[in-house]
Amino acid sequence: MTIEELEQIAKSVIQENEKYDFEVNVCMDLACMSQGSDRLREALLKAAEASGKKVLVRRTGCMGPCSSGPLVRVDPDEHLYHHVKADKAEAIVNSLGSEPVPELQCNLNDHFDKQVRVVLENAGHIDPEKIDDYISRDGYKALLTALTEMTPNGVIHRITESGLRGRGGGGYPTGLKWGTVAKAGGDMKYVVCNGDEGDPGAFMDRSVMEGDPHRVIEGMAIAAYAVGASKGFIYVRAEYPVAVSRLTTALRDARRRGLLGNGICNTPFNFDIEIRLGAGAFVCGEETALLASIEGRRGAPRTRPPYPAVSGLWGKPTLLNNVETYANIAPIIRNGGKWFANMGSERSKGTKVFALTGKITNTGLVEVPMGIKLREIIEEIGGGVPGGHTFKAVQTGGPSGGCIPAEMLDLGVSYDALMAVGSIMGSGGMIVMDDTSCMVNVARFFVEFCMTESCGKCIPCRAGTAQMFTLLSRICDGKGTMEDLDLLIGLCNTIKDTSLCGLGMTAPNPVLSTIKYFKNEYIEHIVNKRCPAGVCAMEALVPEAPVEVLA
C-alpha cells in the first residue's frame, strides 16, 4: 500500500458514492440500536429499492444526541430526523428530492453549534465496518505519511508540539510518554490501547470503537512506529460486544489492505494488533492492573516505578494510552501539532469528548474544545435540566471524580481547573443531577462501587472503602453523628494519601467534594434526621449488618 494507492481507493469510493443522488445515514450505535435502528435500516433499504430512486442507505456510528434516537441524517441536504421508527422509512424515502418530513425534523442547532469535532469527525459519516469509507475521509494517510516522510523522533516531536495530554483521565503529556518508551532499550516493545471504560456513566470510548474503529488502529500503528514497537493489544470490556465485533472486522480489513502486518507500506515496519477482552473489573482501567489482565492474571495493580514505559507487559517497555488519545493521533499528524495546540486552553489543548447523561434534556456524546465553560455544556449543548427541576450538581470523572455545584458552572473545563475544585477530568463521563438527587446518597453509591471494585491488595483501599461505606450508610439511615462526619473526613484523607493505586487514591473524591459543597445536606441528615431530596429512607429497614472487612 502506498499513498497513491490510498488516494486511488478514496477516489473510487467517492466516485461510487456519486452514483447515488441521496445518502440516508442511519445511526447504528448501541443507544439507537436499542430503539430499533437495525429494523429501521432494513425498512429503509426495502423502501429505497421499491422507490427506484438512487439512494445509498448507510449504517454509521454515533451521531451524538442519543436521547433523540434513532437518528437519521439525509445528505446532501443534511436534514436530521429524530425518533425515527421503522414505519417512517417510506415517508423518508418518498420525501427525498422534495420537502423534508416535517414531523420528524429536529432542531438541535444549539446542540451542535458549540461543538468542535476532531475525534468524532467521522462518526455519523462513515460505515464503521467499511475500511474504504474511512480511507475516503483521509484515513490511514497519517500512518503512511509518518512511515514514508517522518522519522520516529519527528512523530514524537509533532505529538509533543501538539500538547496532547492523556485522555484516560490522568492527563499525562502524551509526547513525553512516547519519548520515554522510545528511549527504553530492548528488542521487544508493546503498544497497548486501554479500552476498559469501567467508569459507569461514560461511553465515549465505546462510541469511538464502534463508530470509527480504524481511527484507533491507525493511532496505535503510528505510536508503534514512533516508539519502535511491533505488537499491539487493544483491551476492551467484554460488556461491549458490538465494539469487539467492529474492531475485529476492522483489524481483519486493515490486514487485508496491508496496513497491518509485515512490511507495512513497503517499509521495514512490522506491526499487528490483538484484541484482549476484559472480564468486568473496574480496577483494570489502572495501567498496571490492565497489563496484569492481558497477561492472563488477576487485575491487581503493582507499585510504580518501574512505570510500564520502562517495564510493562512481560517486563518489556510498553506504551499504554486510552482510546481517545489514540483517536487524536491521526489528525495531529495530518494537520500538524500547531493546529491542535491552537484549540483549547493554555495547559489543556485540543478537544474532549464527554458523555452527557443523567437529568439533562439532550443526553449523548458531545465534543467540545477544552476551556469551554461547564454552563455552556450543560445549558446550551445539553439543553438544561428537564421537567421544571433545578440543577444541583454535575459529577465528572466517575467514581474517582467529584461533584461540582451550581455556583461553579462558570468554570472552564480543563485538567487543572477540575483538579483544583476537587474533581478530575476522568475519561469524560458527565452526569447531571437535579434537586431530586441526594448528594449523601450519591456519595454512598460511589463508595459502594469502589468498595466492591477494590482488588483487595492494599489495606487503605480494601478496609478504608468498607469503613467509609459504613459511615455513609449510618448517615443515610439517620443514625449518623457529627463525630462520624469528622471521622469520615479523616479517613478520606488517609485513604487518599496511602493507597497503592489510582482507584484507592481517588475513591474519597466523591465524598470529600460532596462534604465540601453540600455540607448542609450532611448536617440535615445528621442533626434533623431528614433527607432534603427525599431519597434516603432515614431508617434502617433491616438491622445493621456489620460490613465484612478482610483486613
Binding site: 459507569p200 467484554a238 460488556e239 492481558i294 497477561e295 492472563g296 443523567g358 450519591v442
Partner: protein, 197 residues
C-alpha cells in the same frame, strides 16, 4: 498469526518470569523444552472443541487464560469445576491461579444461568434515573436477590456495572438485548411473560 515468536512453547528465558512451569515440568536438563501434550478433552461434547480451538490459537500460552475462560462461559453459560480444571491443565497454570482469576472478575459465573436473564444496569447514570428501584421491584417479584436464579431455573436476575448505553438510562438487558428508558411496569410485564413460558 504473524507474531508467534513470544508465544510458542520455545520462548526465550527472559519471558519465563511469569511463565513458571506448573502442572507439567517443561524445562529439561540442558535447557531443552519438552514437547507439551495437552490433556484430552473432558467429553465428546462438541463445545470442548471450540474451547480447545481458542487455546490452540494462542499456542496454549499462560496468558490465554482469560480468553479461554470467556470461550468456556460463552459455550457453556458458566464455569464449573471440571471446565476450570481442564483449562488450567491445558494452559499449565496452577489451579489456584485459574480459580483466582474466575472469582476475581465479575463477568465469570460459577453457577448455571436461568433460562432467561434480566440484567439491570447499575451504572451511575442508571442509578440517578432510578435503577435501584427497578432492582428492588424485580427482587420483590421474583423473591430472589440479584445474582440469583429462581428455584424453577426460569429467570436469573443480574446487575451490570455499566453497559455504556447511559444516554438511555435506566437500562436493562433482557437476554442480552438492550432496552432503554425502562419503567418498573414494563419490566414486570417482561418478567411475567418469561415466568409463564
Amino acid at each position: 498469526m504473524v507474531f508467534s515468536a513470544p508465544y510458542n512453547t520455545s520462548r526465550p528465558k527472559a519471558e519465563q518470569r511469569l511463565e513458571e512451569p506448573c502442572c507439567i515440568p517443561r524445562l529439561q536438563p540442558g535447557g531443552i523444552v519438552a514437547a507439551f501434550t495437552p490433556p484430552p478433552l473432558p467429553s465428546d461434547d462438541k463445545r470442548w472443541k471450540i474451547v480447545n480451538g481458542t487455546m490452540r490459537k494462542n499456542g496454549f500460552a499462560h496468558h490465554a487464560l482469560i480468553e479461554t475462560l470467556h470461550t468456556v462461559q460463552s459455550a457453556f453459560g458458566y464455569l464449573d469445576d471440571d471446565s476450570i480444571r481442564f483449562v488450567a491443565q491445558s494452559l499449565r497454570v496452577p489451579l489456584s491461579q485459574a480459580y483466582g482469576v474466575v472469582t476475581f472478575y465479575h463477568y465469570f459465573s460459577l453457577k448455571p444461568p436461568g433460562k432467561h436473564t434480566m440484567t439491570v444496569c447499575a451504572g451511575t447514570a442508571c442509578y440517578i434515573k432510578g435503577a435501584d428501584k427497578l432492582i428492588a421491584t424485580a427482587q420483590k417479584r421474583l423473591g430472589i436477590s440479584h445474582g440469583q436464579t429462581t428455584s424453577d431455573g426460569q429467570i436469573s436476575l443480574m446487575t451490570a456495572r455499566c453497559v455504556g448505553a447511559c444516554s438511555r438510562a435506566p437500562v436493562v438487558l433482557c437476554d442480552g438485548e438492550v432496552a432503554g428508558e425502562m419503567g418498573g411496569d414494563q419490566m414486570l410485564e417482561q418478567l411475567e411473560r418469561w415466568a409463564v413460558e
